[in-house]
Symmetry: C2
Subunit: 212 residues, 2 copies
Amino acid sequence: MSHTLGIRQAQKQKTRQALLDAALGLLEEQSLSSLGLREVTRAVGVAPTAFYRHFRSTADLGVALVEEALGSLHPMIRTTVSTTDDSQERITRAIELIARHVDGYPAHVRFIARERHGGVQPVREAIREQLARFAQEVKDELAEDPVSEGWSEDDLLMLAHLYVDQMLITASLFLEALEGPAEEREERTRNVAQVATRQMRLIGLGRHHWLD
Amino acid sequence: MSHTLGIRQAQKQKTRQALLDAALGLLEEQSLSSLGLREVTRAVGVAPTAFYRHFRSTADLGVALVEEALGSLHPMIRTTVSTTDDSQERITRAIELIARHVDGYPAHVRFIARERHGGVQPVREAIREQLARFAQEVKDELAEDPVSEGWSEDDLLMLAHLYVDQMLITASLFLEALEGPAEEREERTRNVAQVATRQMRLIGLGRHHWLD
DNA sequence: CCATGCAGTTAACAACTGTTCTCTGTAATT
DNA sequence: AATTACAGAGAACAGTTGTTAACTGCATGG
């Protein structure tokens, strides 16, 4: 059903993407609420007014960035949790997946971590919504596990939220490890991985003894 | 050793506090990186240049706010964790303590949650530092518990960080529950408390079976 | 092939920003 | 009582911001 969109719409989406990319870059050293529309267009090399052809405001652009960033996070979380029962190696692999994702999309991870509690209400809302959907999916994934037999829906959801939050915290810590001086970067990354792994293991233990 | 500071210095600290309070108020609907110095002085009713008598920049003010906000959070966390072994009632009481604190200092909680991953590096650093100190204290508190016998220092610290992060998440959720429309506020608050309590219980379970 | 639609431009606006310099009043020191 | 220190005021600066209007060129659909 996909129509090869004309040279016109193609160019439009190209500049739109350029605006998103430029914004994401500028947001490495500030938050969305201080991001100026002119700042973005200047970075792209386009007139300030062109901005309005794509977004109503920077808040609007922020919401679009949420879709993009959590769209890329989406498959990561699913595979992560589907491999996360309690076994040591599987947890290690899940943590590695997170680390790999942070390596691949650091700006996305930073954006979500920063704007989740940031100063722009519509963006917070969008992130909250997406994370709730993630938690729901994680819950469904958990429900299929034999370990979850006898669990109430509420308890499955509370564990799912615990997992999701834990993943975001871990991702943010990996990001911090990347940002510092390059010398001890590897050591810091290893340390984050080690701590996160053990926290996951502890949560997994709690999960197994939940129905006592 | 405390000298009754003169009428001069008293007035100075008064306006300084007024600047901090005004800033905290303005930060309810934006993040620090977009907070203007003029905006703050205007809210206090003081000349823009007066700002420089107290802070070098808004980032500097932000660091001062971290001290204030986490200074008020400090006793809460200590008492919270000292009452957090696994027993059901004690966990419930700890969660209530958090809820009470969020009720008492919502702006502080919002500020920390928002700027922890925010766009101003020195402020992020200050928060990171303070939270690391908290984790250290929690570790010391945990070490005295008989349940922690046989635990390595590293494992105690990783559990401490888990607790601290969990507290911040819970506090932020309580805040969100307060912010919405007043009608179902109580229900949302109860729900947050319930979920947080069970997550704490699960972590407590994992803690007890750590050495298997 | 021509008329229309629309992405992007140019110019201008009032309002705002951080920062500097100069000045004033008064509490504190001598 | 005279002098100093210093919190805060006032005015001015160059630069920035979001938004509006009228425009231009070109891909598109009739």
